[in-house]
């Protein structure tokens, strides 16, 4: 069977070779890079612009961004017909292609995040390494830990006030440089679509900007969600048995609500920006009504109406906006809000990627995508529901592992 045939339903006049070649993993790809970029921008808001309210979530967002970073290229790997040849992009990058720069942008960004993390956690590594060095009769695990932390210090053990001050400066610079790079990483994912002149829905110079805005929205939402989950867990543990050095339940609750409220303001800001740009694009297309508008109108207002206006704009944008804007925000309402926002951004990616292939290049036919749910071979797994969910779960698992080495709340008690 031809690749794509199994999940494509063709209607009216389409070219014989046309199928939905870019399926759910290509929806996941901008979704995941969007989360990376968004999480990073959120953490930088504190480090660069000194927005104090975001202090606690900033460190958290940075670690999460690092975890997401590893998950971001995975959808592409699952999408490629030859995943092991993916490395060719680094070996013979063909720079007229928007995808060719992926490796470079991605690694630059990775390096920035990693070094920022290092400066942020350097003191922690040194303290850990020294403590483990003191320890007599280390067991196997402790030896490994000792080695790990020694390596992570990179041989720098200077944790004087002065040195730490310099660290802070470095973090600020890195976070500052990181913002444009993060925006570039994601704006450029938008460019991959926006520059395809053959595709009437994709081709618009607004695409990268729309992508960046919705990326920030999704990144903030995911950070808030994970933050709330972690805080709830802490509350739960405190309720069960409070250790003497821990904050009281009320303190944790207060801190949590404060962070959530502050962050949600930025969420709403970027959400409004994203919606404005998307609507501008839509209005512009309708107003100029070039050749492709007839088929686009059919796709947008008829065939994909439900996905675009109900799922994306309604459930994914409007309802969360109301939830966040009505006064007296609660944790439960925020959870619902951020979940819906995440869903909305996912639907936006879906409507771009799948919607862009919903009509034929003939402008006289349509293609319908049916997501493979129950896989019956590797292809229908990786480009089906299973593959998409695995990708989505990945950063959480990674975050869980990484936060052993980069404790997100470890220093909280010293800071308060």
């Amino acid at each position: 069977m031809v690749h794509g045939e199994i999940w494509t339903l063709k209607e009216l006049f389409t070219y014989p070779n046309e199928y939905i070649y870019w399926s759910v993993q290509i929806v996941m790809y901008p979704f995941m890079t969007g989360l990376v970029a968004g999480a990073f921008v959120l953490s930088s808001l504190y480090h660069v612009f000194g927005i104090k309210e975001l202090k606690e979530i900033a460190r958290f967002a940075l670690v999460f961004s690092f975890a997401l970073l590893f998950a971001a290229p995975m959808p592409i790997m699952l999408h490629l017909q030859y995943p092991f040849r993916g490395i060719n992009v680094m070996m013979t990058p063909h720079f007229t292609s928007a995808i060719a720069a992926f490796g470079i942008v991605f690694f630059t960004y990775g390096a920035i995040v990693a070094s920022e993390l290092w400066f942020l956690y350097r003191k922690h590594f040194v303290v850990k390494a020294l403590a483990l060095r003191e320890l007599q009769d280390k067991n196997m695990i402790q030896w490994l830990e000792y080695l790990l932390y020694c390596t992570l210090t990179l041989g720098v053990y200077d944790v004087s006030e002065e040195a730490l001050h310099r660290d802070e400066k470095a973090i600020k610079v890195l976070a500052g440089v990181g913002i444009p790079v993060a925006c570039f990483l994601h704006g450029y994912a938008g460019f991959i679509f926006g520059s395809v002149k053959a595709n009437a829905l994709w081709m618009t110079p607004l695409m990268p900007v729309i992508f960046i805005m919705s990326a920030i929205v999704s990144g903030i939402a995911l950070c808030m969600l994970t933050y709330i989950v972690v805080m709830e867990y802490r509350k739960f543990m405190i309720k069960r048995a409070r250790k003497p050095w821990q904050m009281s339940l009320e303190e944790v609750k207060g801190a949590e609500m404060h962070v959530v409220k502050m962050t949600s303001k930025y969420l709403v800001l970027f959400l409004v920006l994203a919606i404005t740009l998307e609507l501008l694009d839509l209005i512009f297309r309708g107003y100029t009504a070039v050749k492709s508008w007839d088929v686009l109108r059919t796709v947008i207002y008829e065939r994909d109406f439900y996905d675009i206006f109900i799922m994306q704009y309604g459930i994914g944008n409007l309802i969360p906006l109301i939830l966040f804007l009505v006064p007296g925000l609660t944790v439960k309402r925020s959870i619902l809000g951020v979940l819906l926002v995440l869903f909305g951004v996912f639907m936006m990616r879906w409507n771009v990627v799948i919607g862009g292939q919903a009509f034929s290049l003939t402008f006289a036919g349509f293609m319908h995508y049916t997501l493979p749910i129950i896989p019956h071979d590797w292809e229908t797994f990786k480009e089906g529901l299973g593959g998409a969910l695995s990708i989505f779960a990945m950063p959480f698992v990674l975050f869980y592992l990484i936060s052993y080495v980069f404790p997100v709340f470890g220093d909280a008690k010293q800071e308060h």
């Binding site: 031809v2 017909q81 992009v89 007229t96 992926f102």
Partner: protein
Amino acid sequence: MITRRKFLKYSLIGAAGMAVPTGLTVVHGGTPEEAKKKGLRWVFLVDTHKCVGCGLCVKACKQENEIPYDANVSRTWVERYVVTKDGKVHADSPKAARDGFTSPDIDEGHGHKRVIKPEDISKAFFVPKLCNQCENPPCVQVCPVGATYQAKDGVVLVDRTWCIGCGYCIMACPYGVRFFHPVYHTAEKCTFCYHRLGAGMKPACVDACPFGARRIGNLLDPNDPVTRIIEDERVSVLKEEYGTKPQVYYIGLSKEVK
């Protein structure tokens, strides 16, 4: 392209000593130097008046280029257009017209057939399609690894040993020419039967067409009969607005053609 490939070849051997993909050493058939000297630019000429929609070209192409016979993809295909008196345009290309058009009903996908009464038809015709070997090919532009490239004689080729199968080129071609090969799983397209051109033969579809609707020629040779038609007569190309500068010329195109 050549220099990069060579560079890569040496650096690969040097760096890791890993197996060099054979594709890196592939010469772009018909040697570009030769092509330049001779002044060679392959172009195609389709006379839609002559096409009867028999599909023999599609059959020949599938066999010549080893595209699985029953797979629903093809390097070349034939479209049927039926314009009814109410101004509506109906078009189809069932199985890429591999078996010709055996039914008067229009195939609308999903097993739907549209029955059109002969007395309602105002005009009907066939249009063969194939890769336009664009002068400004977007498929080459977007390939992230340079696996799709343009030979000096204008033909756009795919290196099966280097293509990563991202499908970007498929998305970028405004003519829906490309697909993934069902067996090799790499990007696949019409090459004007490049292997045959190199051996001094004509593309399989040109040879297979009993009515002379398909012809190939060298645009840089002023005495080539195809070139003379392109220069002297009224010809058109498909979807000029994309700026791809297509090099498959048509006689008798109509505004209904997609």
